[in-house]
């Protein structure tokens, strides 16, 4: 059965559809794998075995009765614990939501169900998606399957690790400043942040509303594109949802044709602070693209240098407001409600006990940045920087079709290594922040191992609603490297 856990989503869907294997067998194989390895990886916060098998049975029933199936029917998936699923515990990695079972499905979950995707359970994450290592989870860190001493990236570290550890062929993450792309890079898999507004945020527990975007993880670019096409599309329940049709990401991923494409290398996303091994793999990937007929152009985006500062004002500002609702009144944790304390004091005690240090740090940062008298200097200024970054992108689109960079400046660091140095931790997102602030699509695809024999990713960024372009380029890189390696990068990982 072990080939079931190593199969791609495309292969599994085909085997389920032609009855070579049942969806229940596929789900069970993955539940067994989770039971076998997750004690060491800690990718899952909640495994919904009964729910998964029930969904799988429904798919098998549909297969038996000859119903038309979606391209991912019966394929198992790991869901980041920041999306609501009716009746299934949803914590967002925080103590403050411990025990909360949402009464409603996120739109993403609804679409997954409609497509017959089997949800195995909820994955670990940095608390409220704030972090780059999954060490900020209230439920312990997730371990990188490549090296259990290393971080799996974050905040969607649980989802990335689950896919990397063959616990699921597909996963959903969310990306606010790099929380899909950076974990994908450091766990050697593919992860995409769709155009902001392409995937509904309804049911996504908000960190930073103007940046949050759910997206797909998989081990191949085509699988990632298939999942993208299932979850994307207009949702009237999300006012920021885009009405235009979803670009043909699957077609682009299958074509992998980059001949005559103009690909820009971002000058500002290289140099000091970039590990030599990361830079070397990146330079090799550039040559691979050139060899396939792409035109490579160096592009300067001077405002990208300020992305980190702008991001750490905008995201905390929005989070300080978004997280105000965790007040012990209607759901989640309630502390010291002993009949003596006032409602305000119970709120205070609950928030003090329920939020972790990084969340508190960002609430305080954001509260300060929005304060009267400081608003213009901080939040207002950050929004101006955001506009400048957007202009850099728009200027680039005059001469190139996509921009590329390393996904992260370094290979994954050791668990515990940066916990006491928030700024060093924040720098893990240096390359991914600009397109988050801009709102365009971006993907990370594996391009080899770095100095420490750990995965390195290539980031591809494209104009708003040109999601197909990032898949096209990622797929071209994946194909070229597969020829060199005789398979996926992940095949080089030591078995767990």
């Amino acid at each position: 059965m072990s080939d079931l856990i190593h199969a791609s989503a495309v292969e599994l869907a085909a085997q389920i559809a032609n009855k070579t294997v049942s969806a229940v067998e596929v789900a069970q194989a993955h539940l067994d794998r989770i039971a076998e390895v997750d004690g060491r990886v800690n990718a899952f916060l909640y495994v919904d075995g009964d729910g998964a098998l029930e969904q799988a049975r429904a798919v098998d029933h549909a297969v038996a009765s000859g119903q038309a199936l979606s391209p991912l029917a019966g394929v198992p998936l790991a869901l980041k614990d920041v999306l609501t699923q009716t009746g299934v515990p949803t914590t967002a990695g925080s103590k403050i939501l411990e025990g909360w079972r949402p009464p409603y499905d996120a739109t993403v979950v609804e679409r997954l169900r409609d497509a017959g995707v089997v949800i195995l359970g909820k994955t670990n994450m940095d608390e409220f998606a704030m972090g780059s290592s999954t060490e900020n989870s209230a439920y312990g860190p997730t371990h990188n399957p490549w090296d259990l001493e290393r971080i799996p990236g974050g905040s969607s570290g649980g989802s990335a690790a689950a896919v990397s550890a063959y616990e699921a062929p597909l996963a959903i993450g969310t990306d606010t400043g790099g929380s899909i792309r950076q974990p994908a890079a450091v766990t050697g898999i593919v992860g995409a942040k769709p155009t902001y507004g392409a995937v509904s945020r309804y049911g996504l527990v908000a960190f930073s509303s103007s940046l949050d975007q759910a997206g797909p993880f998989a081990r191949t670019v085509v699988d990632t594109a298939l999942l993208h096409s299932v979850i994307a599309g207009h949702d009237p329940r999300d006012s920021t949802s885009i009405k235009e049709p979803v670009p043909d990401v699957v077609g682009a991923a299958k074509s992998a044709d980059v001949s005559k494409m103009r690909i820009g290398v971002v000058r500002e996303l290289s140099g000091e602070g970039y590990q030599p091994g990361v830079q070397a793999r990146f330079d090799e990937a550039v040559e691979l693209l050139r060899a396939q007929g792409a035109e490579i152009i160096e592009i300067s985006c001077p405002s990208f240098t300020y992305a980190l500062g702008a991001y750490y004002l905008i995201a905390p500002s929005e989070c300080s407001s978004n997280l105000a609702r965790f007040d012990a009144m209607r759901f989640g944790l309630r502390t010291d409600d002993n009949g003596e304390l006032s409602a305000e004091d119970v709120m205070r005690h609950t928030r003090a006990a329920g939020f972790g240090p990084e969340v508190k740090r960002r609430i305080i940062l954001g509260t300060y940045a929005l304060s009267s008298g400081y608003y213009d200097a901080y939040y207002g200024q950050a929004q101006k920087v955001r506009t400048l970054i957007t202009r850099d992108f728009e200027a680039a689109w005059a001469s190139v079709d996509v921009l590329i960079s390393p996904t992260t400046p370094t290979e994954p660091f050791r668990i515990g290594e940066r916990v006491n140095d928030p700024v060093a931790m924040y720098k893990a997102d240096l390359c991914t922040l600009p397109s988050s602030l801009y709102g365009g699509p971006a993907i990370s695809v594996p391009i080899g191992l770095g100095d420490e024999n750990l995965p390195v990713g290539l980031q591809v960024m494209a104009p708003v609603m040109a999601d197909d372009q990032v898949y096209r380029v990622a797929s071209a890189v994946e194909k070229a490297l597969a020829q060199q390696w005789g398979g996926l990068l992940l095949d080089q990982a030591v078995a767990l």
Partner: protein, 502 residues
């Protein structure tokens, strides 16, 4: 508990009041501002809620298009400019009845701005028009409703526990804010009352809200400060809340003027604070101290896209506005053939819509005005409620008038029927039946009473026989008394004269 006050005339002699009014209007949309929940008043607590209006994690708002349309129509009716592009903003503060601990409102980009409403007030020099300038009208959502149980004040401090009903959370509100209203002098309380009354009529005419002050669908906060002269800088203001009737608007302002003047005359500084109006005792009491430093950390709502009404849509809405109340009252005054002062008394009594509704039910204009401004106004005043809150409908008043016109009731009996209707005894005809109220029209029954009266007052009878017809009044009165008012006085008079050979 009540503060020292000084005489109103003395206030006016020494101080100049500056008013500011913030009116919150609950829109009568079928669904809430940002979700599809129903908005029915008085439903079982927490039955009209969903993830969005409960602020559950992951939920998102979607703007109610009808609410935007209502906001624009209100703005147009108030002569406001309409923003071609504006955003919602988050107003951040913690309170248990606010699900998200921020209110989705508008801050520096209101949808309507810079308008006015003219109101007429009776002054010593005749009717004078005051222009109340509108600074802005913006959209926002209502909070939930807290019920504080235990404790003496009904407020959160001292309560044993509190219950929160989130049915109201997310109901669309329009907040209409005036510019500081200066120069009203001693008429400030009347101007404020006339403004709120005119605003209420305007909103009702637009059909955007049921504008029931006692149910909270129209709420008024009154800002007031005093200064020593119109040239002096503005004084420290207080904001009085819980002003839930037109009468209260006037009374609360009058009270605050007298209270503040007493403090200022005594050399005591006014504290900038929120105060609560108490309808029963007629005083305001101190609430929360509100400093300018209160920081709501407003920022543009990232979960919503900007509202950008097209010029075509705005013009279409403008062209469909109903007749403005001022023009309507002018037209009606001409139709009814009454003076401006008479019309003003109808408007000030809050009776215009009721009178119109009564006319629509078949009564004639004069009779409709007579009932609402006379007997019914007196009842409302006795009960201390708004005219429209009386337990009698326009239809019932019209029916009552029809009974009078048919000769079945006279005015005295009609008043008894009103007693019955207000007491919930049913429709006017049914009340008249069950109470046995009917003009005695049987001449033989009347003649018996007339002959008794003649026998009891032979002097009067003789005078009439001698041609002094005026003396009939005493005998008619006696008959009316004997028949407990159920006779038609005109018929009694005819019969008396006939019996005595006149």
């Amino acid at each position: 508990m009540s503060a020292p006050l000084i005489d109103f005339d003395e206030v006016i002699a020494n101080f100049d009041p500056v008013l500011g009014l913030e009116v919150h209007v609950e829109l009568g949309t079928a669904s809430k501002m940002f979700c599809g929940c129903a908005t029915e008043f008085g439903a079982e607590p927490n039955t009209q809620v969903c993830p969005t209006c409960l602020g559950l994690p992951g939920s998102l708002p979607v703007v109610n298009g009808t609410a935007v349309e209502s906001a624009i129509r209100i703005g147009l009716a108030l002569n406001c400019s309409i923003a071609s592009w504006c955003r919602f903003a988050r107003k951040n503060y913690f309170y248990p009845d606010m699900p998200k601990n921020f209110q989705t409102s508008q801050y520096d980009e209101p949808i309507c701005f810079e308008g006015y409403l003219d109101v007429d007030v009776e002054t010593d020099e005749g009717t004078r028009t005051f222009r109340v300038e509108i600074e802005r009208a913006h959209m926002e959502e209502d909070t939930g409703k807290s019920l504080h149980v235990g404790g003496s004040t009904g407020r959160i401090h001292g309560a044993d526990f509190s219950l929160v009903d989130y049915n109201r959370a997310g109901i669309p509100l329009i907040e209409i804010v005036t510019k500081p209203l200066e120069g009203a002098g001693k008429y400030a309380p009347e101007v404020a009352k006339a403004y709120v009354g005119a605003l209420r009529d305007l909103l009702r005419g637009l059909g955007v809200s049921d504008v029931k002050m006692e149910q909270g669908s129209l709420r008024c906060d009154v800002n007031l400060s005093l200064r020593t002269s119109p040239d002096a800088p503005l004084g420290t203001r207080t904001e009085t809340k819980n002003v839930n009737s037109l009468r209260s608007v006037e009374r609360a302002i009058r009270y605050e003027m007298q209270r503040q003047a007493a403090l200022l005359a005594d050399g005591t500084a006014i504290i900038q604070e929120t105060r609560h109006w108490h309808e029963d005792t007629g005083v305001t009491t101190s609430g929360r101290v509100k400093s300018d430093a209160e920081d709501y950390r407003y920022f543009p709502e990232p979960d919503l896209v900007p509202v950008a009404p097209s010029a075509e849509w705005i013009e279409q809405l403008r062209s469909q506005l109903p007749e403005p109340p001022a023009e309507r009252s002018k037209r009606l005054r001409q139709e009814w053939g009454i003076s401006e002062k008479e019309m003003q008394s109808v408007i000030n009594a809050g009776a215009l819509d009721l009178v119109l509704a009564t006319i629509a039910e078949g009564a004639d204009p004069a009779a409709s005005r007579k009932w609402w401004l006379g007997e019914l106004a007196r009842r409302a005043n006795d009960e201390g409620v708004e005219l429209e809150s009386l337990a009698i409908t326009a239809k019932q008043v019209a029916d009552l008038e029809a009974l009078v016109q048919s000769g079945r009731l006279n005015d005295k009996l009609a008043r008894q029927v009103i007693d019955g209707v207000l007491a919930g005894e049913g429709e006017p005809a049914a009340v008249a039946d069950s109470r046995g109220l009917q003009i005695v029209s049987d001449d033989s029954a009347l003649l018996a009473a007339i002959n008794e009266a003649i026998a009891a007052d032979p002097d009067a009878a003789q005078k009439i026989r001698d041609g002094k017809v005026a003396a009939a009044g005493a005998l008619v009165g006696a008959v009316m008394k004997a028949t407990q008012g159920q006779a038609d006085a005109g018929r009694v008079r005819e019969l008396v004269l006939q019996e005595l050979g006149q």
